[in-house]
Symmetry: C2
Amino acid sequence: MTDRTGQVAVIFSSQRRSDDEADYAAAAAAMDRLAALQPGYCGVDSARGADGFGITVSWWADEAAALAWRGHPDHVAIRDRGRNEWYDGYEVAVTTVGRSYRWARDRGNIPADPSLPS
Amino acid sequence: MTDRTGQVAVIFSSQRRSDDEADYAAAAAAMDRLAALQPGYCGVDSARGADGFGITVSWWADEAAALAWRGHPDHVAIRDRGRNEWYDGYEVAVTTVGRSYRWARDRGNIPADPSLPS
């Protein structure tokens, strides 16, 4: 996908409290797999540094899809576990994409409009 | 700040190509300091994992502030350097925050509306 305009991007920024990495990584990977099965799923990107601060962005076709994922019972349960076990704090921002673009070393600018020359 | 509703969040996801960490880290820190001086700056969050994939979210009061930062000459120059030296690829999504919330271990839910009980 080269253009995310109109998608809903849920930005989840969190500070891990411990180094219980295997347990956390398994749960996070399971959530990523489950998210990918939901209607309207458009991808997940995640990064976490050695300091335990991480950002995950999940991309959704629309607000309804993002809300449905928020309400998924397994997702609700894992958020409870996150507060109890994994995080010192987090912030969630639910956003709408106004424009997007990409660049890749082997492709150059990847235009949002497929009718443009690449 | 406890509520980012209405802010512009610029999501920059990138794949680093090399481990030229000291040079890159210095340039990234300089950009963070410069961004913080711009009108409408509301914060920057960054995370990058050992695999070289990172996400930086810069938060702006409005679209004009985000566009002004995009056009800052030093920022333009560092993006050229990023394409030439540091990245295999990146994606930018410019988004508007519809709602946001926070949780912290020592404070619980941090309400967006300061008139609400915490």
